[in-house]
Amino acid sequence: MAEGETSAVAPARDSKSETMAFVVAAAGWLVPGLGHALLKMWGRAVVCFLTVGVLVMVGAGMRGNLFTSRGNDAFDSLGYIADLGTGSFYLVARSLEADGPDVSHADGDYGTRFLATAGVFNLLAALHAYEAARGRKA
C-alpha cells in the first residue's frame, strides 16, 4: 500500500519540479542571472548578469552588428538566434546602437562577436540553471 502511494506521488512531484526547471530556464534567458537567483546561487547569478551586460555594452559600444529577423541568409538567421539569446538585453543593445552598426572597421566586427557571445553564453547559463533546478550536479 505504502509502495503504491509512493509511486503515485512521485510522478506528480517530478512533473512539478520539471515545470519549475522550465520556469527557471525561461527566467534565466529573459533576465540574465535570474534563473540562478531563483535557485539562490547568488554568485553565479551576479556573474551571469554582469558577463552578459558587459559583453552587450562593449559589443554595442563597438557598433557591432545586431541581427534582426529580416536576415538575408542562414548566417544572418543564426546571428539573430545568437543575439536573441541575450533575452531582454537584446532590446538594451538595440537602444544603445542609436547610430546603427558599423562593420567597416575591425571594431565593429569584434562588436558583432561580443554580442553573439553574450547571447550564446546566456543560453548556456540558462541551460545550466535548468540542470541545477532538476537536481543535476551543477
Partner: protein, 67 residues
C-alpha cells in the same frame, strides 16, 4: 518607435578586445564550471592563459598571409 539610451563609443585595439573578451569569459566559465573558490580561481587563470596564448598564437599564424 524605440527610445534610445545614450550611446557609448568604444575604440579598442585588437589586443585590448582580446584581453577583455578572454577575461570576462574566463571569469564566467570559472563561476559556472566550478564550486570551490580555489578551484574557480585555478580554472579562471588557466582558461585566461589558454585564451590569450591561443589567440596570440593564431594571430601570429595568420601574419604571413597578411602580406
Amino acid at each position: 518607435m524605440m527610445a534610445h539610451l545614450p550611446s557609448i563609443a568604444l575604440k579598442l585595439s585588437h589586443l585590448q578586445a582580446l584581453v577583455l573578451f578572454a577575461l570576462v569569459i574566463a571569469i564566467a566559465f570559472g563561476f559556472l564550471g566550478r564550486r570551490q573558490p580555489i578551484e574557480r580561481l585555478k580554472y579562471i587563470l588557466w582558461t585566461l592563459l589558454l585564451f590569450l596564448l591561443i589567440g596570440v598564437g593564431i594571430g601570429w599564424a595568420m601574419y604571413p598571409f597578411s602580406h
